[in-house]
Symmetry: C2
Subunit: 169 residues, 2 copies
DNA sequence: AAAATATGTCAACATTGCTGACGTAATCGG
DNA sequence: CCGATTACGTCAGCAATGTTGACATATTTT
């Protein structure tokens, strides 16, 4: 009788971190809620936001690259991309070298909206940082990066322009 | 020409925190992805998960209380709740004092699934914590709590059983 | 010229949110 | 006791965003 140490599958793994699980849920909900409100005034949803965001951050992105970042199907992407192009928030041009590719760019209007959305969310981060020591920002980034799938971390670090040398001294 | 310092509405607010914005997005996506995979094997989605989770954490919860936590409509809730009850993951009984209320409880099967889901997500947190000093957990909780809407923070702290005295000494 | 690649599009479907309307059971207030 | 309120269930319809599968078109590669 291993005095309570017996376990079925997935038993005895220690107490679940209910607090972190719930905090992550509520924090993310409020975080995306900021953008949702502004997007509504344009008739856009979260899917539009994600597309606009990544195109604005990486002008010249191709469809295939965007699909790889968002991990959705081309049909899902096309639905929202078509609207963003129709409403002149994004422009698509034939690829420079390979004309089969389509390179995506934000228009002036698109850049403005992308920036306004980013600033809204930045404000929430800024306010959160106020209550956390001076290293709050670095700690938060380390935590979030550590939550990303290990095999995706490299790609994410590249995306956000984080050199791997940026881990703590 | 006011030499670049001119600003329209929402200009000049400093550089957006693109890194944090994107990290939060990817971290949350991978976090919920863990549960999604297990839920699929039961034919459930995220909506079912949230209901099961909060009922399991607060047995005896009423419909109204659950609606207030999830902030969805009773029609949306009812759709998934009905399935959870039909498949015997949750039970509803008439309220003890007021029989108009319905009190929700997980069955043994429901508790098991809720715990397995929580443990899956806990494993991701645990692994993330391994790479972050000894205070990683507290820092992460502080950060996430600070990201929650201020007027919701009290309710969330209660929910996760966090005394307000738990802020850092 | 044929094959592979990058993209667009059509159709159908699932999940999960919403609104509005209406029904029923239980409780409360006078 | 009776009417109003409360708590919940349900029906119908719609919207956003994800999915699969099939097929078309343009371009590049082989």
């Amino acid at each position: 009788m291993k005095s309570g140490a017996v376990s079925g599958p997935s038993r005895d793994a220690g107490a679940p971190f209910y607090d972190l699980i719930e905090l992550f849920f509520f924090a993310y909900r409020d975080f995306v809620g900021d953008a949702d409100r502004l997007l509504e005034t344009y008739g856009f949803g979260r899917a539009h936001h994600r597309v606009l965001h990544f195109v604005s951050r990486q002008p010249g992105l191709t469809i295939a690259e965007l699909l790889d970042i968002l991990k959705i199907t081309k049909q899902s992407l096309n639905r929202v991309l078509k609207e963003l192009i129709a409403k002149s928030f994004i422009e698509a041009r034939a690829g420079a070298q390979d004309r089969r590719h389509r390179q995506l760019f934000t228009t002036a209007k698109g850049s403005r909206l992308a920036r306004d959305l980013a600033l809204l969310q930045t404000r929430r981060f800024s306010r959160a940082m106020e209550g956390l020591g001076p290293e709050g920002r670095e700690r938060a980034m380390e935590f979030l990066l550590a939550m990303v799938d290990p095999h995706e971390r490299g790609r994410v670090m590249e995306l956000i322009g984080m050199k791997s040398a940026e881990r703590r001294s």
